[in-house]
């Protein structure tokens, strides 16, 4: 009898793990980038960011093409691609990480959860560890995540010529927002 109970317990744990391993996806995540000096305004948005959130453990991954950033000024878009980010060499920006305080997040319950995201961000072929705060908002069963943080161009080996160092700031503001849909 004890053996049969043990077997049922093991199988049940397996089934419960299956149910909890739900993933959420977005293919239209948004990242806005902004930087302003008296000489230059860099104001762009990428609405084709893809991301998956694994509700089993709070893992988040995101990936997007650098060429998907659109700028108000067509020349800024051209220089962003041709001179600075070099997407012909490094086509994607990728994030691999997790929500470090995921135990406090209940994706089944509506609410706004403060989260800390930890992981590795890869831009222009350079990978750096980042740790930023953000929010997960659950509303009517819809899950969205957002975060704002700065990125240093120097850290990702994005070279600004001496002549333009005053025109372009090293720190660029990123504003990230993902609206997730249930995946599988």
């Amino acid at each position: 009898m004890k053996n049969i109970l043990l077997i049922i317990a093991v199988l049940a744990t397996g089934i419960i793990t299956q149910i909890n391993a739900q993933k959420y996806i977005t293919k239209t995540g948004k990242i806005e980038i902004f930087s302003e000096t008296p000489l230059f305004v860099i104001d762009g948005v990428n609405k084709k960011v893809a991301s998956i959130l694994n509700s089993a453990n709070g893992d988040i991954v995101a990936s997007t093409l650098i060429r998907s950033f659109r700028f108000e000024e067509a020349l800024v878009e051209e220089h962003f691609n041709e001179n600075y980010l070099e997407p012909n060499k490094f086509p994607k920006a990728i994030f691999k990480g997790k929500i470090s305080n995921f135990e406090g997040v209940d994706l089944g319950k509506d609410g706004t959860y403060d989260i800390t995201i930890v992981g590795k961000l890869t831009i222009h072929g350079q990978t750096r560890d980042i740790e930023e705060t953000g929010k997960i908002i659950v509303e009517n069963g819809k899950i969205s995540a957002s975060t704002q943080f700065n990125v240093s161009l120097k850290e990702y080996h994005i070279k600004i010529e001496k002549a333009y160092k005053k025109a372009i700031k090293d720190e660029i503001k990123l504003n990230v927002h993902f609206d997730y849909k249930f995946y599988r």
Binding site: I7, G14, V41, V61, E73, A74
Partner: protein, 303 residues
Amino acid sequence: MKSLYLAIIGFFLIFSTPVLSQDDLLDMLDSEVVEEPEIVTATFKSTRIINGHSIERMVKRQLDFRINHRFGQLNEGTYSIFGLDNALINFSFEYGINDWLMVGIRRGTNKKVYDASTKLSIFRQTKGVKVMPVAISYYTDWSIKTLRGLNDLPDMKDAKWNEITPRFAYTHQLLIGRKFNEKLSLQLSPTYVHRNLVSVGEKNDILALGIGGRYKFIRRVALTWEVFYTNHVTKDNIYQYPIAIGFDIETGGHVFQLFFTNSRPMVEDGFIGETTSKWLDGGIYFGFNMSRVFTIGIGKHKE
């Protein structure tokens, strides 16, 4: 009993879903995202190769203000400081009505010519899931030489319409360009020029093939060259193929083009149809084009 217990654990472990790693999630993402064709951009630094148009255009709400200079011939010697004293200019405004349609107006000193142009971006070069090996644009230009006494025509303000139309010329070009890599782009420009009035013995129509390109050897500087083979140049007549070679220097919103050419006129029917100077005789003009691009009506950054 223990072995049965172990066998069932084993059975369960084999068939249960493994824990997904972040790399697994990234692979899942890659398989979900539909790849779009990549549009090749910045084949040339501006809308001109040197004299002639490139496949590039202004996108919606972009305005290109250009001032083109042609100085006198280098063989004018030190007295005229190698032609610098004798400058002709041509200035133009070219505007993107939308991402594929650009219109322009221009005024040049040479024969006091006004012209209006349209450029249509028909195909963009793409790579990736869908490949289009070249970008193709169509360019057309209508020019009017308003110089008094031109070809003994009456002044425009006194003239009847049929005395004005001889001053017109038309150009049609198919611009076919390809960016081979970050450094090298090449373009073919089959061209048709029609001049309403020409000198005795000359044909009104000219067919030409432009061949040009650029080689970007450092980040903001490129070597450029351009030649037009035209069917109206013969061994015996005065006309020559227009040939130009120079540099493009791009800084922020400006593109500067510095070059040498044997053509003084800057409008298409001019440099294609009326080039008479010879490179080998020092009939070379130093030219300087400046292009400044503005975006009209940018909204304020929305927080």
